[in-house]
Subunit: 379 residues, 4 copies
């Protein structure tokens, strides 16, 4: 009798990067078995990919609706237990909703939905279902991000006074500066890509990282987008001033035209007693600053780390783990929840993170369009 969780995959076939990331993450802790899938809307491609990676072809379905219909016919002990949604963004909501409505657990790529309205509907569906819903804000899986969260929770920084998170990339340069490309690529077409490019794709990760690590909620924001060209309809750069409770202020900086930046997600959190700084491209180093003591550099795997952090480290100190491991930690947390095992708050991002994220994205668009005014987030 297998102990592995039966996992279905929606999307992520072929050379899909997100597909590789989720597959590897699902394998890493020996918790999941890919049991069925709709890797690709094209059935031949779907089957071919299943064969390539050795997924039993009798559980490869021609489309999502068939997937649900056929799996529901199976007895519960054979049925796929959880689905990973790796499809284009606009499909996240209908798929997640139907899955939850039918009692499947869900692991969903971000953005969770294409609007706050959808997000709230999904939130309701989730409440009714009682199923597990994990949103893959991948970066919360890094051991040193988790260490920040736990140390902040236990008071290592004292009262927080200032946050500064940033997500800088440069990859859109080759598109945005070319008039032909920028008018044709789906990424910059609001009909296909949603209401925001830069904030929706990456800025929201920085937002999530602030709320995840500090445990505080952002109250209101003021944003300024940059479209760079008159004929471009989507933000490729955006700075967001943020206000939190109790005179805490901060900012979220995001850009897709930060030339030469690769995947520059970073965060700095300044408190009364100390501060933390962390950068995604050197994820195994966490810097704790103080006004009076030497800076300390925390690394994964040491006994001085919290349980939440150590739970996400498989090897002794000095053996670098990367983004696969980070995603694997989220899958690990979801596995515990699916099995009804005890798990800690923070082991995977939740429905609430998804709702907050959509709220944030919509608020930044509203703020920018209204002339850079303060917009409150829902509490």
């Amino acid at each position: 009798m297998s102990k592995k969780i039966r996992l279905g995959i929606l999307g992520g076939g072929g050379d899909s990067l997100i597909g590789v990331l989720h597959r590897v993450a699902s394998h890493i802790n020996d918790n999941y078995q890919i049991t069925g899938a709709v890797f690709n809307p094209d059935f031949d491609a779907n089957m071919a990919f299943a064969k390539e990676i050795d997924v039993p072809t009798n559980r490869i379905y021609k489309d999502f609706d068939t997937f649900v219909e056929e799996e529901m016919k199976l007895p519960k002990e054979e049925r796929i237990e959880v689905c990973s949604i790796l499809t284009p963004n606009f499909l996240h909501f209908p798929m997640a909703k139907k899955l939850l409505d039918n009692g499947f657990h869900v692991i969903c790529e971000k953005p969770m939905t294409t609007s706050l309205e959808e997000a709230k509907i999904l939130q309701e569906a989730h409440k009714k279902s009682g199923a597990v819903f994990a949103l893959t804000h991948t970066y919360t899986g890094y051991p040193m991000v988790r260490q920040m969260r736990e140390m902040i929770k236990s008071g290592a920084l004292g009262k927080i006074h200032k946050v500064d998170a940033s997500y800088y990339q440069g990859w859109i340069n080759t598109i945005i500066h070319d008039q032909e490309k920028r008018s044709s690529v789906w990424r910059l077409d609001p009909k296909k890509a949603g209401i925001s490019s830069c904030i929706g794709d990456i800025g929201v990760h920085a937002f999530n990282l602030i709320e995840y690590t500090t445990g505080l909620r952002i109250d209101s924001i003021l944003s300024d987008f940059n479209y760079l060209y008159e004929d471009n309809q989507m933000d490729v750069d955006g700075t967001v001033l943020v206000r939190m409770d109790n005179h805490v202020k901060g900012l979220i900086r995001s850009s897709q035209v930060a030339t030469g930046e690769e995947n520059g997600l970073s965060i700095a959190i300044y408190g009364e007693k100390a501060a933390f700084k962390w950068e995604q491209e050197n994820p195994n180093f966490l810097y704790k600053l103080s006004d009076t003591e030497p800076m300390q550099v925390y690394k994964p795997g040491h006994a001085y780390n919290s349980d939440l952090s150590l739970g996400g480290t498989k090897l002794p100190p000095g053996h670098p783990e990367g983004i696969f491991d980070s995603m694997a930690n989220i899958y690990l947390g979801a596995a515990k929840a699916i099995r009804g095992e005890k798990y800690n708050d923070g082991e995977f991002p939740t429905m609430l993170d998804g709702v907050r994220g959509m709220n944030f994205i919509e608020a930044t668009v509203e703020s920018h369009k209204a002339g850079n005014i303060w917009v409150k987030l829902e509490s």
Copy 2:
């Protein structure tokens, strides 16, 4: 017949840090001889300090007015040629004005004045005088800052799209979080410290660094200050959104409550072809980023550097130079100007930098007080 320039010092006596910095800087390239001074408003302290550092006591004056009066009686070939103004901020303007009016060259600490209005009056006085006026925005003296400027000027980045400069310190924490201290220290008393603490003291350096390196002018700003406590009257943290010509946007981040940050001035400039990143605490490393090529790390003293950069390096590569050397480079530039020698644009910050800086400071205060609105700078 001495070739050294006769230098007078106003302020900077005793243990004054700014005094040490300027004295050392004046010595480094063998260009200046400290010939007279009013180191201290207390005449005994003034004389004692002059003896301690071996400045001839017959040119130590009891106050600034006496200094000017007595020096003017001396024949031109004996008279002090240039004065360094290191006094409290509110004295910069009256001293600089009187010195310029009397034909002295001036090296002035920043902020140049306490208001834009004063700055413009000084600008007029300077035009009439024909004297040299150097503003010690110290950080523009670093060889790698100068290298950025020259490479940007020659097109290394292509069109600039985004700027992000930051100046984070944490030193005011010990004051601001203590109700007694924050209500009594002069730094947080608007009557003594001027209209801004954080932006006026450090944010303006970041502003200057952007304009110095890019050669672009900031058009308009939107700022958000943080006072942290209701009973505190001065900004201890401020974020400023900036707009420049031609859809260029950016931001200036400054804080005095960024716990554990020491003197964290940094700049990132993203252009169409490449980007630069530089940090004051590792001033001998300049990072050039590209979307398609490996990042390059420029260092001082190499033949690949520009003349402006090499002119500020005294030793072969690998011999770290620091902030004294940076200030010394500004003194070196001023010396060339004072002697009527050829010098390059950029060898020292000018009256215009001072006027722009005061404009920026006042605009940020206005923006914040008006509810975070866009305020245009004068062109």
Copy 3:
């Protein structure tokens, strides 16, 4: 019909770190299916672990000999194709030999054997077998290590003049400084741990990295070990001077008492035209130094990298990959060889690396014991 390679695992059960590393590595590129195993000499533990990670229990054998015997009874198309040997060191040789003699492919942890003599016997067995033999010198799987190799091969450094590789750890401090522990732990018992601790366990990785990246062979060595205590019988620190062809010299530094070092493997290679520096704890950064040009920082995933490097990168630049990915790349190379597909030299360490490594270890022991004399390696 499955395309996955049938993989057997010997050792690595329970919480074994090396077990996790190999299992994850085998999953990452969807090439292997764990089909059978002797995870543990204790059969109950063996079975329990198989169930825990969902390996079919009918292919779980009570011991290695049974494993071979039973698998050989199976038709070739069902039989396990390759075995990963993760057992204690002294078992590597007999297991690898028997597997090769029976036509299994082998993936073997290092050290390959316990002596050069055994290594040569294995080399002969391998030649006869025609099977694939991959030695898991894990660090050669990092994309930037592979990039070094390829760039050196294509002349980026010119003639090499100096190599300096280092492997510093501090973990043995807690044992070595405690008289009771150092006399009882198997790691410091020559009967159990072989002829060398520090060189055998980690120094040999530095040796391998030099030969892997430069393509040069080390000719002769002079070593100096440190035992720290009179009653300790095994080296816990060793420095090795090395000589290569053509006046190239260098050194290998290794230590297990380098307090606070975690897994500090690094290499510097200095050539006539340029140099490379790389550190295992920041594996995604490769530094190329020049006397006349700015240092360049190479990172994985960019089009400027070689095919060998890019073949080991699954995600776009800026997504850190770690040691699991490095090991996975070795498994990927082995998979190509096992399937008879085309693969590049350097995709996995070979039998020759194993023989060279044993030769190196024995030579360092001989050199130290003979009073730090030069000892030639076999050519």
Copy 4:
């Protein structure tokens, strides 16, 4: 009545880098007045340079012997008190000896002499003279080097087990690889440059740094030089194994063909409780490693630093000081000694450092020439 010490300069005229370094260092703490000099063996050049930097020409002498003769005629209260010897190496000994014999204090560039024999004679002369003798091992002036020394002295590392110091440069590449240049340059001519190039010029700094920071003496060494070419007579690369008391071992690595290295002096000291790492090119960062605690990063100017360290810091944390400041700290220590003020052990390198250094250099040559054997240093 001036309080500044009357300083004479021997050598260092014109564009001499060492001249700039010493002049600036002498100015930085307002302790010295350059009162006389023989900057240059050519009298016209000597006088011209004196005028250029404003040294009174009546104390500019045509040669060293005249310098001593004329200064001795002056009353003690006018006479030059201390001389800085910046001449070619072979002149250090005769000048220092004559100066000490005549009661002058001496600040001497390294290497102190050209042989151990000379060094010992000078040591005797020094003892008799009672004068102050400071050897400018510049790198001991860095605040964080001094912090290492003081923390080690107070037990922060516990018993030391391993040292690893390195001095890598690449500048000689352009000479050594060119047959014409390498046979003609004085640097590689034993008649002009002494018995060692690489060890004598830079390796000895690494040696000194080990003894300075640990307070331990190196007992014996085994060295291996590299000449790279048969027709080259001087070492351009050398590795030295070192043994100290009580089973402490270590190594000194030095190279002038380490392509792309600029001035790569570094040190790592591993003790029972903790370790220190420091690099000259980032001199304001000192890393303290532990097996069980997060690494700590010490920086200058903080209250947590020792008096010896803080005495060499003029500005608040975060204001980078460089090599001029480091040399200035040595001049500051010498000034205290010259004035008979209290100073700490370690404020400037001494005659003993010079004797030890020459002993080390000669021993490394002997070891290499005898076939890489162990050579004891004098105790």
